[in-house]
């Protein structure tokens, strides 16, 4: 790198930044990728799973050499009541066509960066960008803790808190309802025991979503993922709800771990890590300005997350790629103005990113308004149904059916599900 100058600087080596950097290097451009962590991934936390198809767009056949944990072959939903639960499972045989893998960020992010370096990306680890350098009102590079770097353009991939987007006014201050706070604990178990507990083969894994139970009073969802020899368990809750409830997230996580339907999965596991990280709400109306003179915003920094389907890494990688393609166009044109870089927004609009964010623009608000239906009413009725259906005693079946039916009618569930059903229908019909 001559005189600390490259064509493009990418700040942040998460999925968004790595995908930007590698796409630029593949087009023969000089690119510097910067991250504050000692090893890429050491500051990062997610659930979680990466999605095979979209990840392979950047790293073809990555599963043959990348440090993936398990190929997901089962999705489960646990609906908890105070003490009981109903559990729904969707299992599929992968037949070599993988859909998703669990990964550990410190291993996965590191591997991604190594691939990028092999393809010609300059990488600066242990480098904290303090601010963007502004020269004559234009972004000219970055100021780090130790030295300055210069470039024609900067791609901002610094994640959910994006201090850099804030610095140059691309986004406003966040509010409580813009974010969910997530906490997670990781438990180590003997591999065989983990596989037996979750009913898995050697390399297959399950992903679990958890509703209700200790999380019933708020817009929150728990999760559990199987790694090679650890189980990750955690939950996310929107900051405004947490504030209303006046509870601490780690106490709620303890309550979740102690629920009789959850506890057996992590029993006797050794706690190897506790962590926290935020997720942006991910709605179309909250997208900040994602391009300006000499800068593009990608990944979590731009709010590109689908919280309903738990997609973030895929949108991060896709937005990173689209930003890089835009940067290549700008370099070849020799013009880094906002109007040239607006090509990025056009590409986003044609991609699933803007389409999906639009579809779910108001979903979280609707879910928040109807949350008790999903976290209390439905789990309770589901358990009551099984209770009624499976108990053998002196009460005649007809009396039991009637009692259950009257419970259903009294609960008003049909009426209460209407807003959700209509909303979902509306999402399908809307152009």
């Amino acid at each position: 790198m001559e005189n600390n100058k490259v064509e493009v600087i990418v700040v942040g080596a998460g999925p968004a930044g790595v995908s930007s950097a590698i796409t630029l290097a593949r087009a023969g451009k000089k690119v510097l990728l910067i991250d504050r962590a000692d090893n890429a991934g050491d500051k990062n936390m997610f659930g979680g799973t990466i999605y095979a198809k979209q990840t392979a767009e950047i790293f073809p056949k990555f599963w043959e050499s990348a440090p993936v944990e398990r190929a997901i072959t089962e999705h489960k939903i646990f609906m908890l009541t105070d003490f009981d639960s109903t559990q729904y499972s969707y299992r599929y045989s992968s037949k070599g066509a993988y859909k998703a893998f669990t990964v550990i960020r410190s291993k996965w992010d590191k591997w991604c960066v190594e691939q990028a370096q092999k393809e010609g990306v300059y990488y600066a680890p242990k480098t904290l960008v303090k601010e963007l350098l502004i020269d004559n009102g234009k972004v000219a590079g970055v100021k780090t803790q130790f030295e300055d770097f210069y470039s024609d353009m900067v791609i901002i991939a610094d994640g959910v808190n994006s201090l850099l987007a804030k610095q140059i006014g691309l986004r406003k201050e966040f509010t409580d309802s813009d974010m969910t706070l997530n906490v997670k604990e990781v438990f180590k178990l003997p591999k065989q025991r983990l596989e037996d507990r979750f009913n898995l083969d050697e390399n297959t894994g399950s992903a679990v979503r958890i509703l209700g139970g200790p999380l019933k009073d708020m817009f929150a969802m728990g999760f559990m993922y199987t790694n090679k020899d650890t189980v990750s368990i955690g939950f996310g809750v929107s900051l405004d709800e947490l504030k209303k409830q006046k509870v601490s997230p780690y106490e709620l996580l303890d309550d979740l771990k102690e629920h009789p339907s959850v506890a057996p999965y992590i029993k006797d596991g050794e706690l190897v890590e506790y962590s926290a990280h935020m997720i942006p709400e991910g709605s179309f109306n909250h997208i900040p300005k994602v391009f300006d003179n000499r800068v593009l915003l990608v990944g979590d920094a731009a709010g590109f997350v689908d919280n309903i389907h738990l997609e973030g890494t895929n949108l991060a990688m896709l937005s990173g790629k689209l930003a890089a393609e835009t940067a290549v166009f700008a370099i070849e044109k020799g013009d880094f103005s906002a109007s040239t870089l607006s090509l990025y927004y056009k590409k986003l609009k044609d991609s699933i990113i803007i389409k999906d964010l639009k579809t779910h623009n108001n979903t979280i608000n609707v879910l928040k308004k109807n949350i008790l239906t999903l976290t209390t009413l439905c789990p309770n009725l589901a358990c009551e149904f099984f209770e009624m259906f499976t108990s053998a005693d002196e009460i005649s079946k007809r009396v039991k059916y009637r009692k259950f039916l009257s419970e259903v009618l009294k609960s008003g569930v049909i009426f209460k599900m209407m807003p959700l059903a209509f909303y979902a229908l509306g999402r399908c019909i809307k152009k």
């Binding site: 790694n227 990750s232 506790y274």
Partner: protein, 91 residues
């Protein structure tokens, strides 16, 4: 489980300087104090006697929630300098 037991499972490299700063006078006038319970690492602790906010910045998980949740936008928040702060090996 005690929060300290959870934090004990983590790798931290403590800096001599706090990356989290509050104006104590503003905290004194803050009735809600959401930082006390919202922080996943219980970094903020209010000393009732001294009317002082104790900030155990060395336990910070660098999530950013306190900055947003603070009722008075009173937290000046940045990432710790490189090589300091938390390290996640199972994120």
């Amino acid at each position: 489980m005690n929060i300290n037991d959870k934090l004990a499972a983590l790798q931290f490299n403590k800096s001599n300087e706090s990356h989290l700063v509050v104006d104590n006078d503003i905290c004194m006038r803050c009735s809600e104090k959401p930082c006390l319970f919202i922080c996943p690492a219980q970094v903020y602790n209010w000393d009732e006697k001294k009317c002082l906010m104790n900030i155990r910045y060395e336990n910070c998980l660098e999530c950013g929630a306190c900055k947003i949740a603070c009722s008075k936008k009173n937290i000046s928040w940045r990432y710790p300098d490189v090589e300091y702060g938390v390290k996640f090996k199972n994120g």
